[in-house]
């Protein structure tokens, strides 16, 4: 999406949301989510949008045969390869960067514009990096959770980083005009369709907002550590059980 337009949308959504301010005083995770009140409003806004998006995604899921849907997923994943490549270089992961460059060349040509993931079949593994992860590797590890209108879960670090990534990605820089918009919309629907299976579980949760946040933040940590994050500090959980916890300090930038 063009950056300027996105900001206009964010501001409009912000205005809408301040209008329906149900005061949410409790804070379920002051350390990671100090903006919970605001985030919950954006979450509610996105849920409203989903009433329109979900039926489209359901229809798409029904008419698309599975192999074709896999192809579409491969296509978008391939378009992100330059973002991954640049961030692998920025993180000093040169060898993996070489693999990503090789994958991009192979899949864009032999793989028919990325629809067929021939590189994986040839044993070149898929990596996923972006500027948010690079910033985390560089030391900006903890960032407060931030719900973005339309785009969903993110952090204060990852949201702006995502916009920068999209500037130099093929979709952002090479492909222009209506095609870019078309791709953006198809990708949105395709992504939504991939999460349809999880809808029922989310609805059944005590607190769907918290479930989405916790799952997203943990999975993000997993990406940042390339699939090998440190274990939770379980002792901390136990101290909670045994004695009075210290008051939460919500000073994460």
């Amino acid at each position: 999406m063009s950056t300027r337009l996105y900001f206009i949308c964010v501001i409009c959504a912000g205005l809408l949301l301040t209008g329906c301010a149900g005061t949410q005083s409790r804070n379920t995770d002051p350390e990671n989510d100090p903006w919970e009140g605001y985030n919950r409003k954006v979450y509610a806004f996105n849920e409203g949008m989903d009433k329109v998006v979900r039926p489209v995604a359901v229809g798409y899921d029904r008419i698309m045969p599975d192999p074709l849907q896999t192809g579409v997923g491969n296509f978008f994943r391939n378009l992100d390869a330059p973002i991954t490549f640049i961030n692998q270089v920025l993180q000093g992961k040169l060898k993996q960067g070489g693999t990503t460059a090789g994958r991009f060349l192979l899949n864009s040509t032999l793989g028919l514009l990325g629809f067929i993931d021939v590189a994986s079949k040839m044993g070149l593994p898929y990596y996923n990096e972006d500027l948010g992860q690079t910033l985390a590797v560089w030391g900006y590890e903890d960032s407060r959770y931030m719900m973005l209108p339309f785009l969903g879960p993110s952090t204060f670090r990852d949201g702006p980083a995502r916009i920068i990534d999209n500037y130099y990605s093929p979709v952002g820089s090479v492909i222009g005009g209506n095609v870019r918009w078309g791709l953006f919309l198809v990708r949105g629907v395709d992504t939504r369709a991939r999460f349809l299976d999880q809808d029922a579980e989310l609805e059944q949760a005590y607190d769907p907002y918290v479930l989405m946040r916790d799952v997203w933040l943990q999975n993000r940590q997993y990406q940042i550590y390339d699939g090998d994050p440190p274990l939770q500090d379980y002792d901390l959980y136990l101290e909670d059980f045994d004695e009075e916890p210290e008051p939460g300090t919500g000073n994460t930038p």
Binding site: T28, D29, T70, Q198, A200, E201, L202, Q204, A205, Y206, D207, V210, L211, D214, V215, Q218, N219, Q221, Y222, Q223, Y225, G227, P229, L231, Q232, Y234, Y237, L238, D240, F241, D242, E243, P245
Partner: protein
Amino acid sequence: MFRGLLLAFACLISQGLFAQTQADEPVALVETITGHIFAEVSENLEEYKAEPGKLEALVRDELLPLLDIKYSARLILGRAGRGLAPEKVDEFATVMSNLLVSRYSSGLLEFSSKVDIRVLPQRGELNEKITRVRTRVTIADGGEAPVDYAFRKTPDGWKAFDVIIEGISYITTYRNQIMPEVQATGIDSVIERIGSGQLEIAE
């Protein structure tokens, strides 16, 4: 001659002991138990699909001895468990483990064809109180899903207390759902709702 026999015997014994300590280690435990469950499911998938209760029984028999469900329960309850009667915590541990067994079983049935698991070698020394066993579950489209088990050393040997799928911890996720609910409605209500299947907090 006699000395030689004795030596051979001693070797056998020490080897036996050696094998025993190995078999008690987390990686070996996971290999044996998940290996058995996965092989069983792959062979009799149709049968288990017809009778999911049978699979739950299998998973319960195989998996539960490996788990420290009371420890998991305490971690999940956190602050909300403070001052609870121990029997309540045990009761909560039981309904949570039932939920875990039922989810694990239905997860296994979602695989359409053969399922496979690869247990990665132990990393680092085992002198810590907590360790992690990394596994990769092969899924239908040929991809692999990372499933890790967190283990702790107890007087009864190594026991698993957390499952981590693609970085998402069962304990952390359930904890943030259940803790506020226990604080708001009380432990009895939560135990009853989880037990009656009214609630399936998801991952």
